[in-house]
């Protein structure tokens, strides 16, 4: 199981060297051995082996597709009909999905095998899974540290060899940051390239489902399986791979000016230098580029996102589904259900969003943020006329110790490099590159590559070369 990739498993399955059942059992054994300590899965499904056997029949019949029989983990905010999906929240603790997310359906159509649902920050709000109503997910590489978030369980499931790949969701870095903290590959696809149907909404103009895998090749396999326009999501789009460009001529831009900001670890900066050196050796041209307003991204994000959160989470009211707390009248039912059902961070963001959208503040926060969002988008567009990809660190620092970050704002600053891709909607990938030594332990670092809308192929190509795939 250790270091087994989706690509390798496919070969083994096709050559009949292993069965889907053995593969699933391998994952289940690792879950059994580690989940109690690490708290990665909130639930392991009871139909795993049955689904694995069904997948074996498909393989035996010679109709195997790329993901047939591959055991995957799924973040707890993505729906599978009939199965629980709680977004790691008390308010949905016993909720069972009544339909299946499009991205999941596409994987089920290939007879991929879902192992269980993974822990996360409640409603995907956080960078460490410390905001889960069901406890933190510990990092498989160092259990004293967080696995990142919000898709922390998904990243830890792959890093801990409990699944060969996982789905997460990324609103401001929630796939890339945990992937980086766990030494994995995390892709935030182009906004709209993967249907959001069946993904619980957090910030609808930012959300996208993305894969967490051990390799870039696996990331590409999962992305190709889940992408596509969907009539159930009117914001979804079809992306077409542009003609193969001459890879060795690709230019990579580095906005060096953003590395001058406060709170960025020295090792993180050094690591970017190392990656630049390696990319040059591989034949890429490196250019120093300027993104003048990128330093506004985090502020834009923490205005737009809570505004959308306060609207999207209005649906959880104790009436139609989820936790319902008895009260004297309807208003009291709402207030008690939401007060008891939502955790601290969800309540905080709803109230923040309510403030930002209230009369008198709307223009100075939301209005300004939308203007800046447009400007940042234009700057990225200009940059992508000059370079094919943009390189930054994924996070300003590696995985922190559980409980180390005390205030909400400290947590938010972890997103400083990742939010821009969500604000402009472009694809971005976090690649494991380099390590930093803290307390005698080597912790993984991540670097991020962003490309123009629909150009996932560019960052896959560079990523594969960089990681020697």
């Amino acid at each position: 199981m250790k270091n087994l990739t989706i690509k390798q498993a496919r070969e083994l399955l096709d050559k009949k060297e292993i069965s889907t059942k053995e593969l699933a059992e391998g994952c289940l054994e690792n879950i059994e051995a580690k989940n109690k300590e690490l708290n990665v899965f909130l639930e392991v499904y009871d139909d795993v082996l049955k689904n694995a056997e069904d997948a074996q029949k498909v393989i035996d019949a010679g109709s195997a597709k790329e993901l047939t029989g591959i055991p995957l983990a799924i973040k707890d905010n993505i729906l599978i009909k009939g199965k629980k999906a709680s977004s790691a929240s008390k308010i949905l603790e016993n909720y069972r999905a009544i339909y299946t997310a499009t991205a999941v359906q596409k994987l089920l159509d290939q007879n991929a095998v879902f192992l269980g649902r993974t822990n996360m920050d409640e409603f995907a709000m956080g960078s460490s899974t410390e905001n889960s109503a069901f406890g933190v997910t510990k990092n498989p590489l160092d259990p004293a540290r967080v696995s990142g978030g919000s898709s922390g369980g998904s990243a830890a499931s792959v890093a801990g060899n409990m699944a060969l790949g996982a789905l997460g969701s990324d609103t401001g870095g929630s796939v890339r940051e945990p992937a980086s903290f766990c030494g994995m590959v995390g892709l935030k696809p182009t906004y709209g390239s993967v249907s959001r149907y069946g993904l619980m909404a957090m910030g609808s103009s930012l959300d996208v489902i993305g894969p967490i895998t051990k390799t870039v090749s696996d990331s590409e396999i999962l992305f190709n399986a889940i992408k596509g326009k969907d009539k159930m999501d009117s914001t979804s789009i079809e992306i077409e791979r542009l003609k193969d460009s001459k890879i060795e001529k690709l230019k990579i831009g580095v906005p060096y000016h953003i590395l001058d900001g406060d709170g960025i670890d020295t090792d993180t900066k050094k690591n970017i230098e190392e990656s630049v050196k390696k990319l040059k050796d591989l034949g890429y041209e490196i250019q120093d580029i300027s993104l003048p307003n990128i330093d506004k991204s985090l502020a834009v994000y923490y205005i737009v996102m809570p505004a959308e959160v306060s609207s999207n989470l209005a649906r959880f009211d104790g009436i139609k589904y989820g936790l319902s707390v008895e009260g004297q009248n309807l208003l009291e039912v709402y207030k008690k259900s939401r007060g008891e059902g939502f955790g601290k961070e969800a309540r905080r963001r709803i109230i923040l969003g309510t403030y930002i959208l209230s009369a008198g503040y709307y223009d100075s926060y939301y209005g300004k943020a939308m203007q800046a969002r447009k400007k940042i988008g234009e700057e990225f567009k200009d940059a992508f006329l000059k370079v094919d990809a943009i390189l930054t660190p994924t996070t300003p620092f590696p995985a922190w110790k559980i409980g180390e970050k005390k205030t909400p704002l400290e947590n938010y600053l972890a997103d400083v490099f990742t939010v821009a891709a969500n604000i402009v909607g472009c694809p971005a990938i976090s690649l494991p590159f380099g390590t930093t030594q803290i307390d005698g332990k080597d912790l993984p670092l991540g670097i991020q590559l962003m490309a123009s809308h629909g150009q996932e192929s560019t960052i896959f190509e560079i990523g594969k070369k960089l990681l020697g795939e």
């Binding site: 159930m232 307003n293 104790g318």
Partner: protein, 99 residues
């Protein structure tokens, strides 16, 4: 620009969230520090001179239309939806009286 406890209570009320008394103060402090950070956006000066209410238009936000028809056969999801109702009676969702 400190947010008062009264404002927090008012916002929580608008958002239909009951907040424990002892949490109001810490929430006000946290909101202050977050707003203190995000208000840096107010230093952003757009070279755009158009009024802000055209923001949507300028962002190229468009409506995507479809025929107004039932996406699925009637009754397909009824049992599943009913199963999730916290309170129900004879196949109907039961709520407290509104008026």
């Amino acid at each position: 620009m400190a947010i008062s406890k009264e404002e927090i209570i008012k916002l929580a009320d608008l958002a239909r969230i009951e907040i424990p008394e002892k949490e109001v103060e810490s929430l006000a402090e946290e909101m202050d520090s977050i707003l203190d950070y995000v208000k840096t956006i107010q230093d952003f000066h757009s070279d755009d001179t158009q009024p802000k209410d055209e923001v949507k238009e300028r962002l190229g936000v468009i409506n995507i239309m479809r025929e107004d028809e039932n996406p699925s056969e009637s009754g397909n999801y009824t049992d599943d939806v009913l199963r999730e109702f916290p309170n129900k009676e004879n196949g109907y969702l039961k709520v407290k009286k509104i008026l």
